[in-house]
């Protein structure tokens, strides 16, 4: 599935990969989350890998979006795992995080 703002690819064994591009607007997550969950439901996805390799800054707005998306995934029985977070991004994000995030993290796709 390709959109101006992201790529969503079905992998094997109920897994999918989400690659956001610059078009993703974290300030307006509702439509995006519904669109994605709809597609993931059709694919019977159990694990969603959210690729952060191109996300250089995760500010409070983007973090809120990630948490909201992860909770929505959990409701749909999907585990959202953020991968490929860059050192600088993790460094900055850890400074303004006051509680653990709602999403899981991993170095890459297992």
């Amino acid at each position: 599935m390709q959109n101006e703002g992201f790529h969503l690819t079905a992998l094997d064994q109920g897994r999918a990969l989400f690659e956001p591009q610059h078009g993703v607007d974290p300030a307006r997550p509702e439509t995006l989350i519904v669109t994605l969950l709809d597609r993931l439901r059709v694919w019977r996805t159990r694990h969603l890998y959210y690729d952060l390799s191109r996300v250089e800054v995760i500010d409070p707005v983007y973090l809120r979006f990630l948490n909201q998306f992860a909770r929505a995934c959990r409701t749909a029985d999907i585990r959202m795992v953020c991968i490929h977070m860059q050192p600088g991004t993790a460094f900055a994000l850890a400074a303004h995080m006051d509680q653990p995030p709602a999403f899981e993290t991993a170095a890459g796709i297992d």
Binding site: C82, I83, M85, Q86, P87, G88, T89, A90, F91, L93, A94, A95, M97, P100, P101, T105, A106, A107, G108
Partner: protein, 289 residues
């Protein structure tokens, strides 16, 4: 009026053949930097004296020889700064550079007296002029000396920081980080930067942070600690805190800091066992044949 007279005298000096004083300027350099001191070789001393003669004649012949901001004075000052750096880098002492500068002043005045036939000991204005110039040049030497000392201290601090926080890959995918002393903001930043880069490069699975060497903890330090653990987790690695002393544990609870979602172990050894368990690795004694 006095300044004008001095300028005229200086202009008269400038008209002299400065080439004759070149050989005289080499002597102080030979005394302090050449021969057994072995800080500059003969060619360097000759070049240095030629450049010095050119710079001094430039200053004396400048539109305003008294100005400390003229290009001619700046060039002479820069020459002394570079000379001091070179000599200090080669193991010379600041004392020798200062003595060289003083000796150079005396030599220069003597050489100009001989060349011009004017007895400067009777001309206080000219002596005063050269004295002021050379005080500035000695200050330039001291500034170069202090800059070099500052640079040495910075390098040593950097080396100390690196050696006080050695990040070691103790097993494939397992990094250990013994933290010793106090975690302040700048140290945390340096530590986090190098740790997160290592995690990214080496695809680290588990980081064991050992706090055995941490004697005290306050709210700021504990905040930095939690921040480090969070950043490691965000990179997709597991973090294990080990060696938390009873005083530190008590301090953390009194600061209302909950380590409930962070894996902790009593000692570094237990932390490593936990890391191996997370990776599905079992370490057992070798069987005797």
């Amino acid at each position: 009026m006095e300044t004008q007279k001095t300028t005229e005298k200086l202009s008269a000096l400038f008209k002299l053949a400065m080439g004759d004083i070149g050989a005289a300027l080499e002597k102080p350099a030979q005394t302090y930097f050449g021969g057994s001191a072995n800080l500059l070789d003969d060619n360097e001393i000759t070049d240095l004296s030629l450049e010095l003669r050119y710079l001094i004649s430039g200053l004396i012949g400048a539109a305003d020889p008294f100005s400390r901001s003229s290009p001619e004075f700046r060039a002479l000052e820069s020459f002394f700064t570079n000379l001091a750096r070179k000599v200090l880098t080669r193991g010379g002492k600041v004392d020798d550079i200062v003595r060289y500068t003083q000796n150079l002043q005396e030599t220069l005045i003597r050489a100009l007296e001989q060349d011009s036939g004017i007895e400067f000991t009777r001309s206080r204005s000219v002596l005063h002029y050269f004295s002021n110039i050379f005080i500035e040049l000695i200050l330039a030497v001291f500034r170069a000396y202090l800059d070099q000392k500052d640079e040495t201290i910075r390098t040593q601090e950097s080396e100390l920081r690196e050696t006080s926080t050695p990040i070691t890959e103790i097993w494939d995918g397992v990094l250990t980080l013994p933290i010793i002393g106090t975690l302040d903001s700048s140290r945390t930043m340096i530590l986090m930067e190098s740790l997160l880069n290592r995690i990214s490069i080496e695809h680290t699975k588990v980081v064991v942070m050992d706090l055995t060497g941490v004697n005290s903890i306050d709210s700021q330090v504990s905040h930095h600690l939690i921040q480090m653990v969070r950043a490691v987790q965000l990179m997709g690695s597991d973090a294990i805190l080990t060696g938390i002393r009873p005083e530190i544990a008590r301090a953390l609870t009194s600061l209302n800091i909950d380590l409930g979602d962070i894996v902790t172990r009593g000692s570094l050894s237990d932390g490593l066992k936990a890391a191996f368990k997370m990776l599905g690795i079992q370490v057992s004694p070798a069987t005797a044949h």
